[in-house]
Symmetry: D2
Subunit: 356 residues, 4 copies
């Protein structure tokens, strides 16, 4: 899927990209400093994440990234004769797990059926399949498997009919609560403990002010806005930049944007965490074969010959770490009147005029 | 902000782009067929939107696009002595409108203060400013103006203190209800009335099945998922592709993804509408000066010498029309078992192997 | 907990109550016509539900009520050293199920631990316990068991500390998505197939108009309002009336109000369903021992000597059926301009002036 | 609407009621200590609120209650020829305000049209009317006025047709975001500043622990649960008890339950606030004429001969103060392991065995 230079001229959106960092990362997946590529039209994002990355290098353990869960989902939709027929089918799903696992395994050697959840509404049955999908983000693998599972359900359970291979209880690229509650994509918690002196010298603020702002803006402000499972300033910005740089389907920033920033003043040190339950990335599949994407994945160490799934986990963790860097930097800036605007005005001069 | 070819090789994400259409558009902003550029790593999106565009050309009025509203917002956050002090300030905001309008006008000749809304929670005061921002999407213009307004509020109202230039009641790039209810970005309703024969021959389905699927999947399925002000299949995909192709800050697909598809079976004809209350686009500002973006905007007719705001409105309407095309195509496909997967497998062959 | 007549004069809210029906009920729990008691200050509710009940008696199978699930929940909140410590604990929960079941069984002979779900956010761990609770709604039983389980978790898992016996991920009497997605209370689906003639003669409308109104008002209107897992007109009214009449903790109408009405025009017949995932009722416990409540439960047949849990299931199904009756009646009325207001004005004359 | 003793025996739910307090209240509506009546089947609520009330009496200013806003709403639903017709009507609403105000004034001498908001989705138009309704909660007054306004809209605007007098964008008794964002009912902020010694001696905790628990449980926990505009522990309990005791339509606790608790550790003193944007109470109308309700309203000082609206405002403020008392008491209890359960077990003995 590579393109010649000429094709690129005509037939591409060329999104400026910079590497920032390294971010000092530890935790249950990665233990090393890593630079991250950020592709964006919003140039102030680079120095913002870079500032956060610098902070991580001054903290003892760096950003501790804990991968909590991973799965890709697809919810099929069936029309039942009535709720009773739907319930009868649901009650037999447990017994059918063995057969359904086989069906999924036949669809792809990387797909594995992890769990099944359902909802009945009137005569409608939504069955949400959860899959392991190796190093792929897994949308297509999940849809292919769901297609086969749906055909199976219609075949073996009386009173069920095909309605749709996707019933929006999945849910893909929509703002909802289900993905956070049941899981979709990689769930990564990032934590950083910043010494008081670093907070003062590098972030020009205090732990108390950051923690208070997080409560007032991210938690209370978002709640007032009618936010859903969301308490952060701008996860979407960093997610978009990493996703574009690595060939991901960046529309998944919709659910990715839903995560929770939690900060605590610990006797002047700042505990700062970003919980990202829905990071959806892969190191194989659509987009990853484009020249620049493959090169970027390789430089990230996500193209290496590892056990299945390890490259994607590494990428998820690096993505999450970049999110924390940008979130920390912005929140700290907003504790000081006028700082955000001054920074933006400064950095939106043509990038060639400035240092990274 | 243009880049040399060499820089581009190294320092960019190169997102494959195709023009599809033309989409036949009518309504209160545009009345002509227009091709749209879609930049995406997900190649099946091109034929999907192209199919929808073809349908529009077979409908009498094409996609009727109605621009309903436009504004950009920023909510500042103040700490008050108590709720009483916050309320006292709020009650004087009406009298202060003249002065606040002058402050905004001084910030930019394109910015205009349209309205002010607020929330009080305990001792916290959130003031949400709504601006007209000309042809810019307006994030920076709004932040700059909000900064000045915030300083003004702190100066003239006793008992108020700076807390943050953004209090998340804006809300930018987060999944919430406020943007749809109070307005943020351009609110565009798109409608298409498809004759029964076109539904049958080109979409291979019926109006009744599409309308039923929309209720079951987009409305009920999303509700079950805990969706918020959202009832659609995949607006985010089309928004991302147009945003990237035209130099927009694509992280705004988060709120953009929240919109409502409504379909009706009208005696066999299909009434199909997509309501997009939060399209956030501009034709000037960050990203639009990149060579490809400027070229694409020009080809769209959005770089012309028009009255202020007209280019951005045109772009919003074209974006919305593209969303309808992709949404219609996917929903119609999902009414037929297996069609979605067959289409994906077919179109994910290397693009060079196929016709558009 | 009975009161003398004199105490009642002084120390009670006396909510007018009427029995309406019978409602013809079938399904997997009840198969008989049952009258329901409705205690309310809003007298128009009685004729509204009564009209619905009359409709059920004219339908072949009556209201088919399918009990889909039942459980009561409590989510404890723990502070962990960090997300890693929280994850380590979570990964051992599976092995601990046996011991946790024993702990629960020791708390009450009616309580049984069904399942455990969790959420990690930064250094916070929320563990949501799901219990069977016999004929009790189970709030106290669940809290008592959660208290013991929390002590156990703190004791055996290093790095966890008590934060709260309730972490709002339960969630009790708050509007959220979790109760519908993971289950809380009794999940009952009610369905009624109304012949075309009955729709015309008794509801003065058509299936097509009711189905269209349900889409436009309950589904689209609620979505626009930023509703969460909710698509109905007024479930809360009927729930409140039955809850008060039977000694329930009526504050649970908050989550009870979140359910989905789905209607279909089936060649002129009207398929009408109400899905109520969070009915929280018991036949023993606080309030049920009050004279009138005990009498009402007895008349409902919910005080009989049945297998554990059967009385509460019966009550849940009757409650759900009453909800459908009121929902159907209101929606049908709203299809006709002016009917709702005329009905209200008519029925708010003193009840003694009218027939039931 | 009074009932004889005999009728009451048979035809009523008799909800035990106690007066607790007095609560020391100050602010822009009330400045005196007031006892509140709580009708509930959950007897532990009485001592819980009573403990909070005691705390208020030890605080300098007591509970400062600030009434921020008041309005009742009803959203009608119209079918338009298309979005263009809907927009054309909307653009003329401003000019029609004078005529619409007259229509409303003709419906009731207490009703006044305050504002109009709208939503367009496809061919559907939702118009949300906001009214002042004097001392009534205003549901019926609003519906009556909306009915007349709807007829007017259909009459004067071409291309609009009646769909429903209520389109769920109101929204009544449903969990949503709109009521908090646009306002519905009385918006009351309550604040209490509790000296460090009182926190220690009477609440057996510290300001730091209460503030931390509020963040972790009410803000983060609720967000994880997919809560909507809600961050509290149990507002619904207190609202239900006051509503029942004063003849309110208690189903309005659904939206009433959506409010935000905010607490701060101020050098050891505890700032504790509850923001309740949707208190829906009246002192006239359905239920208020029942003997006990009238007596309770009179004892509350809400039956006095005051300026229109003053009695209802007083009742709203007292209600909000009672909510703060119960919320404070529960949160403080949950900071101590086991305290909640011990308290419940203690207080669920028959009330006659204990002191209040």
């Amino acid at each position: 899927m590579s393109m010649t230079g000429t094709e690129r001229e005509k037939d591409a959106a060329v999104v400026p990209l910079r590497w920032v960092g390294p971010i000092k990362i530890t935790g249950n997946v990665v233990d090393e400093p890593i630079e991250v590529p950020l592709a964006t039209y919003e140039s102030p994002l680079w120095p913002s994440v870079a500032r956060g990355a610098k902070i991580t290098r001054r903290c003892d353990r760096g950003v501790v990234c804990t991968l909590v869960d991973e799965r890709m989902t697809r919810s099929v939709l069936l029309e039942a004769d009535d709720a009773g027929a739907a319930l009868a089918a649901v009650r037999r799903l447990g017994d059918a797990m063995g057969e359904m696992r086989r069906i999924v395994a036949d669809c792809s050697r990387y797909a594995e059926l992890l769990d099944v959840r359902h909802q009945i509404a009137g005569n409608l049955l939504f069955v949400r399949f959860e899959f392991a999908t190796g190093d792929a983000s897994g949308h297509n693998m999940a849809t292919l498997a769901a297609d086969a599972l749906l055909a199976y359900l219609v075949r073996v359970f009386p009173g069920l009919r095909y309605e749709s291979v996707s019933g929006n209880f999945c849910t893909d690229k929509k703002a909802s609560a289900v993905n956070g509650i049941l899981g979709r994509g990689k769930n990564v918690v990032t934590e950083l403990l910043i010494p008081r002196a670093v907070v003062a010298n590098d972030l020009h603020t205090t732990a108390r002010r950051v923690a208070a702002l997080n409560v007032r803006k991210n938690l209370i402000g978002t709640s007032l806005a009618g936010g859903i499972r969301s308490a952060n300033a701008h996860y979407a910005n960093m997610l978009l930049a990493v996703y574009l740089a690595t060939g991901q389907d960046a529309a998944n920033i919709v659910e990715g944007s839903q995560g929770i920033t939690h900060a605590e003043d610990r006797d002047g040190d700042l505990y700062f965490s970003c919980t990202l339950p829905n990071i959806i990335v892969g190191t194989v599949g659509n987009g990853k074969g484009l020249d620049f994407a493959a090169a970027n994945l390789a430089r990230l160490g996500c193209g290496a010959d590892r056990a299945t799934g390890e490259n994607a986990r590494r990428l998820a963790v690096v993505t999450a770490a970049a999110v924390l860097c940008g979130e920390l930097s912005l929140l700290a800036a907003q504790t000081n009147a006028g700082e955000l605007m001054r920074t933006h005005l400064n950095f939106e001069r043509p990038p060639s005029d400035r240092e990274n």
